[in-house]
């Protein structure tokens, strides 16, 4: 009996956190005038199809979703590999410049993103890459936090495990593929989820780097649509729901990886 007041308090907080998502899902099924009616709608309407069709017409929903997914997947996969390789080198090998590079890498963590964005923009502009996918993907492939996370996790892997494989005659690539990758799988998944979330939601850089609506990612397309005067909000709500939904589903399936990925960002820093 003792726990009920606290349970109710937590349920109220839960409602505050999840309520807006429920309301968003409902709003996506109503027309513009109903969304801006005096009483919020807490039941589904019949405008979901019409809203989605309008959204497809105004931003090219399918194309924009494809762009977002492509960029997020490619960027995440490459960044994980880069981080794993570098983290492995930092954790398990001696090489010249190791400590200096590691310190430099970590020191970039305290520099605000605003510092690098202008030179990177000029660089991409000079290379003629503005409005192309490489402009979005290239700057995000070396993730200092990811490298740090990989290094910390690999430090906990005993050297004997690697040496045992070497004694058995395995070459270095085989050790990497057959020993390091399998033991690192949970950390790789956590980092992957974390990076994918970041890439899927990324806004400022795609906003600056992309010019034509055909190249927009979903957040950029949505923000542009919302900024237009007299925008029909039914379609904006559908777009917003679509941009949040994959993360919610992924989160429900991969709860553990999500939480350890996000916690790693905080507690290992």
């Amino acid at each position: 009996m003792k726990g009920w007041p606290l349970t109710f308090a937590l349920a109220a907080v839960f409602a505050l956190c999840v309520g807006p998502f429920y309301w968003l899902a409902m709003a996506a099924t109503h027309g513009n005038s109903e969304i801006f009616a005096e009483t919020p709608k807490f039941y589904p309407g019949d405008q979901l199809g019409a809203n989605t069709a309008k959204l497809e017409e105004s931003i090219g929903l399918v194309n924009v979703l494809g762009n977002t997914l492509f960029v997020a997947v490619v960027q995440t996969l490459i960044a994980i590999v880069v981080a794993l390789l570098a983290g492995y080198a930092f954790a398990k090998f001696e090489f010249r410049g190791r400590n200096a590079f590691f310190v430099l890498l970590l020191s970039t963590l305290v520099i605000p993103g605003g510092v690098t964005i202008i030179p990177i923009f000029e660089m991409m502009n000079d290379l003629g890459l503005i409005d192309t996918f490489p402009a979005l993907i290239l700057p995000n492939l070396t993730v200092p936090f990811g490298i740090f996370l990989m290094r910390q996790s690999l430090l906990a892997v005993p050297d004997e495990l690697l040496d045992a494989a070497r004694v058995d005659g395995a070459g270095e690539l085989r050790v990497l593929w057959r020993v390091v990758v399998p033991v690192m799988r949970p950390v790789l998944a956590a980092l992957g989820v974390f990076l994918f979330l970041g890439a899927w939601n990324d806004f400022l850089w795609p906003l600056i780097a992309m010019r034509t609506p055909e190249m927009f990612t979903l957040p950029v397309a949505l923000a542009t649509l919302q900024a237009q005067a007299r925008t029909d909000f039914g379609q904006v709500m559908v777009g917003t729901a679509i941009s949040s939904l994959p993360m919610m589903i992924l989160f429900l399936i991969l709860q553990k990886q999500f939480i350890s990925g996000l916690l790693a960002g905080a507690t290992k820093g």
Partner: protein, 307 residues
Amino acid sequence: MTLTMTREAATERGGSPRFRRPLVTRRNIPYLLILPALLGFLCFKAYPILAAMYISLTTGAGAARSFVGLDNYVRLVNDPLFWTALWNTTLILVVQVPIMLLLALLLALGLNSSFVRLRGLWRLGVFMPSLTGLVAYGVMFSVILSKDSGLLNWLLGFVGIDAINWLGTPFWARIAIVIALTWHYTGYTAVIYLAGLQSIAKELYEAAMVDGAGAIRRFWSITVPQLRPILLLTVVLSTIGTLQLFDEPFVLTGGGPDNSTLTISLYLYQNGFQYFDFGYAAAIAYALTLIVAGFGLVQLKLTGGKK
């Protein structure tokens, strides 16, 4: 025995392909492993950081770029809008971070209490806001906060509070930013605290109970000291994050009304990518770096050196 001999013999003769030295050896592998990260670091971290320093000392762009020394920084110090942005950022920081951290701690204590039912479900729910992309949540909040038809004013109507013009008046626009930030990050911070709470050894509490310490005593003598590193960490992370606050004012208020929600990062963006004054924007970026680094140093002092 025979196997060793054949292997040695093979090596001596120059070896069959099977015994040739592999391309990747224990000696060269670290350099190969580090190469992609090094390239990315040089092109997209080291070079831009140095280039931004140079750009901040120039004016114009491309061929028209000219060196002006510290002019941009002099202009910055004399720019009332920069001070407005700094003031707004500080104000939001001072109000929002303590509120959020306190709420998060209470939430984590609740989620950690063994009396509570359905703990997993509540934890799941409070974590969800931190998954929302900034644009998505900006869109959601701009409608939720709308004056005449927003969810929030509708709810406030039940307790007899008149409709508030959230995004249209300087005072309430700041409060709206604080509310949105708090909604977004409290659950995330609570989950961090929860992980900290769960790593505190149960024996400490048991021993304290044997000694007759009450719940409040146990909280102050065990929970708070044990949680101290994580508490400090979240203070620093939230502070640094809020100092760089950009997305919420960008999507909710555009910095208005009357520049009441203009933040440093938003001002940087406006100068760089609306007025294309790269030199000045880079100077703002470096000023922001100094401010963030200053807080970092204070943190280092507080936690007594590196971890």
